[in-house]
């Protein structure tokens, strides 16, 4: 194959050499997936259309936020620890803006969401601030402001337009369609646009990108703006589903989203990863939780297994990439 004609492929080794440890890692991954499939097939009611819908629906809300986080992680900013708080605040704004109608409320939510997170991104991008500390600070600020403004009570919707978001066209939740469309578009953006390529390069080596005169600050800010918009999409669906919103609306979303991205095999160090991987990660976590639920395990066990899956994927991905560098 002439590599010159293949500009679109994501960055990875293409030398065709497959070393033994790498094969071993691949074998472990295949065995793991087969094990999940086998356990799934042997589980009652797992292989049903209804259950498949349940899995993908439960993956959809975390999945959309995780797509946003994927952008942040590829861009080399590690993580945002303010996802839950952003989602809660946007959810509250969305519901209280219902009186303006669904579409204006959606626009307001997405714009405000993009701005809240994009502002943090600008500080990270232009000043090279530490994203972990910055987003911890942002989580305090957002939660504090949200509590202060709302008076600490739940926000009830001021109109009924939000209920359209709970629609289930074709028997599948609307959020699932949105997740799939967003994942595919994001994948296209990452692979085919100048922004996507800049993001991978800024994420891998920020110093080099800066010295080469690439727009580091702008690229990072745009990534975070888009991430904020995606968090806002999660927020509107979550708020619509709960029909009320308070500062705890985000729940454990921050860590669920990080878990989904990591389970998809995107390394935290930046410069690698893809939207489809994150989608796969979200589905994997969701499917395993579903199997455990069907087999009667408690929530605690489901959460524990989720943690162990993330741990296993992190270790395996690391072993595999390290091998390709040796």
């Amino acid at each position: 194959m002439n590599a010159l004609s293949a500009p679109a492929a994501p960055p990875r080794q293409r030398d065709g050499l497959r070393h033994r440890p790498r094969l071993a890692v691949d074998a472990v991954v295949v065995a793991g997936v087969l094990a999940v499939v086998a356990v799934g097939l042997s589980t009652d009611r797992f292989v049903t259309v209804a259950n498949a819908k349940a899995i993908i629906t439960s993956a959809s809300l975390v999945g959309i936020a995780a797509l946003g986080l994927t952008l942040i992680m590829i861009g080399g900013s590690a993580v945002s620890l303010a996802i839950s708080q952003s989602v809660a605040a946007i959810g509250m704004i969305f519901l209280s803006a219902q009186s303006l109608g669904l579409i204006p409320a959606l626009v307001i939510a997405v714009v405000v969401g993009a701005l809240i997170t994009g502002l943090q991104g600008a500080v990270v991008g232009y000043a090279a601030a530490n994203p972990v500390v910055l987003t911890i600070a942002a989580s305090f600020a957002i939660a504090g402001l949200a509590t202060g403004i709302s008076g600490g009570v739940s926000v009830a919707p001021s109109g009924l337009g939000y209920d359209h978001l709970n629609a289930t066209p074709g028997g599948v939740a609307l959020s699932v369609y949105v997740l799939l469309v967003l994942a595919l578009s994001l994948e296209w953006v990452l692979r085919r646009t100048a922004f996507g390529r800049s993001l991978y390069m800024v994420g891998e080596n920020r110093v080099a990108a800066r010295a080469a005169g690439m727009p580091v600050g702008r690229t990072t800010t745009v990534a975070w703006l888009a991430a904020g918009a995606l968090f806002a999409v999660t927020a509107v669906f979550t708020a619509a589903f709960n029909t009320s919103a308070n500062v705890n609306l985000g729940g454990t979303l921050t860590f669920d989203a990080i878990a989904a991205v990591l389970a998809g095999g995107t390394p935290i160090s930046g410069g690698r990863g893809s939207a489809l991987r994150t989608l796969a990660g979200a589905l994997l976590v969701s499917a395993v939780s579903d199997i455990l639920l069907l087999r009667g395990y408690s929530t605690g066990v489901q959460v524990m297994v989720k943690g162990l899956i993330v741990l296993a994927v992190v270790v395996l991905v690391h072993l595999r990439t390290r091998e390709s560098h040796a």
Binding site: A3, L4, A6, A211, H325
Partner: protein, 521 residues
């Protein structure tokens, strides 16, 4: 060739260090195949070879950072299994690593005892000894409680040397200890190395500076392609014969094609460039089509001049114009937009995206050219890429490979190539363009730079290597301690350049500055 032992230990029959048939492979690459040599007590033994010859791997195996696949290491007649740095240290192997290995967040005193595992307790009485160590490498002015981060690179390197020499080791390995040092600083290292050798220590000295190899070392082992080619006493060698052993062929001196001295357009003009404490009032105008060099040892400010023009030194002030238009100093993005491309001396951390394919790296700075409305156009991407690959003389089959998998020379070609073949680049700045590049790659890079000048760019590079300065530059500006010493057009004598770079204007007053100084005398 093994007959002669050094004068300081003529009686020893068994050498202190004996390396027997060491071999090490990484994956399918055989980094070292069969390396054997020996070092007597009191001997300073050089290990030479071009990049990729296997020197570093031998050093890693001797210092406990890698385990050999085959072969044995004998120290004092005893075969050792050096599994880790700590084991090697316990057996008396001290190391000055190729990369600077001191910790900026610790104090000088803490760095001097870092890794000393003899006692868990902090020894408050260790300071006289540390003081003496510092003084022995010429760092009388440095305080023990000073944070290391406040020191310059050369001083940090000397502290690492002091740490290794203070370990009472049997074998001291110095892997390119003087690469970042000025000549004065290097002299301190030579003196200290001679002192530990005289005390009966074996010294393995790895260096690219062949001059110091021949004057400092007793014997020289040359490696090529993972194998030991020869071990000779340094008296039998000349620089040319050493290069011949390293290359396997006689060195050739390429003929420089000096650009004709005609009046051309001034592309870049720099005036009043000052970096507090490092560069004072530097001025230079570059004409299109010519190659300029700033020559200076580390710390002379040569590198700072280039970095400042490239916008990477925020504290710099200067008046810089490109084609008559003013450029804001201190922001890399402003410099790039004005047409100034910069090739850093640290291509791994400040240049390339090692994980990404060659194609991405070549096109990283011209994404707008290969996209339409922000979307990558396959046609433009491929066309641009082919042209660049052709221009840089890269192997077309490797464009899909990650840059990290390439050799140093090819990596540098990609780095330089990224700045070439585009109309918006007017000035090409290169900081040590051939650092860590083998001889073949060097010639290729030099050709690339010549061609770039031929295509109408102004090229400015910094270098400490005379050969490179003489081969490549039409105009050489020597710098010493932050100020310009002299500007040379044409073919200056290498001795003059060297003197100016090492001593500044003071000593060369009789030669170059005679007009200025003559009136007063």
């Amino acid at each position: 060739m093994q007959q002669r032992l050094t004068s300081s230990s003529p009686r020893t029959s068994e050498p202190l260090v004996r390396v027997d048939g060491l071999a090490k492979s990484y994956g399918s690459t055989r980094a070292v195949r069969a390396a054997s040599f020996s070092i007597a007590a009191g001997e300073i033994h050089a290990l030479c070879g071009h990049n990729g010859a296997g020197k570093s791997t031998v050093v890693k195996m001797l210092s406990g950072q890698e385990t050999p696949d085959e072969g044995a290491i004998h120290l004092g007649g005893e075969a050792l299994d050096l599994r880790t740095r700590q084991v090697a240290q316990r057996h008396g192997v001290a190391l000055v690593d190729q990369e600077l290995s001191v910790v900026p967040s610790l104090t000088v005193a803490e760095n001097l005892v870092l890794g000393d595992g003899r006692t868990p307790w902090v020894n408050r009485r260790a300071s006289p000894r540390s003081r003496a160590l510092l003084d022995s490498v010429g760092l009388e002015h440095v305080g023990l409680d000073q944070p290391l981060g406040s020191l310059g690179i050369g001083e940090r390197q000397l502290i690492e040397v002091a740490r290794a020499l203070g370990q009472d080791a049997r074998l001291v390995i110095l892997d390119e200890p003087t690469a970042t040092l000025s000549d004065v600083e290097s002299e301190y290292v030579y003196a200290s190395v001679r002192k530990v050798a005289a005390a009966g220590c074996a010294v393995l000295f790895v260096s690219h500076r062949l001059g110091e190899v021949l004057t400092l070392c007793d014997r020289v082992t040359v490696m090529r392609d993972g194998q030991v080619v020869a071990t000779s006493t340094s008296g039998e060698l000349t620089i040319d014969s050493l290069i011949e052993q390293m290359l396997g062929e006689a060195p050739h001196h390429p003929q420089k094609v000096t650009a004709a001295e005609v009046d051309r357009d001034v592309v870049l003009s720099v005036e009043g460039l000052t970096v507090p404490g490092r560069v004072q009032d530097f001025a230079l105008s570059l004409q299109a089509g010519r190659v300029y060099a700033v020559a200076g040892q580390l710390g002379s400010g040569a590198s700072d001049v280039l970095r400042a023009i490239a916008g990477l030194v925020p504290e710099a002030t200067a008046s810089v114009t490109v084609d008559g238009a003013r450029v804001a100093v201190g922001r890399p993005i402003a410099a790039v937009r004005a047409g100034i491309a910069f090739v850093s001396n640290d291509r791994k951390s400040e240049g390339l995206f090692l994980d990404k394919p060659v194609s991405w790296n070549l096109l990283a700075t011209r994404l707008p050219d290969v996209t339409r409305l922000g979307v990558v156009s396959r046609r433009r991407w491929t066309a641009r890429l082919s042209a660049l690959v052709e221009l840089c003389g890269l192997d077309r089959g490797r464009v899909g490979q990650s840059v990290g998998a390439l050799s140093g020379g090819n990596q540098q070609k990609v780095f330089v190539g990224r700045c070439l073949g585009r109309d918006d680049v007017r000035v090409l700045l290169l900081d040590e363009p051939t650092r860590g590049v083998d001889v073949g790659g060097r010639a290729a890079i030099h050709t690339l730079l010549r061609d770039a000048a031929g295509a109408g760019l102004a090229v400015l590079f910094s270098s400490t290597e005379l050969e490179e300065l003489l081969d490549l530059a039409d105009v050489v500006v020597t710098m010493h301690k932050g100020v310009v010493v002299q500007r040379h057009e044409g073919e200056p004598a290498s001795a003059v350049l060297l003197r100016e770079m090492t001593h500044g204007a003071g000593d060369s007053a009789a030669h170059g500055a005679v007009v200025a100084a003559g009136g007063d005398r």
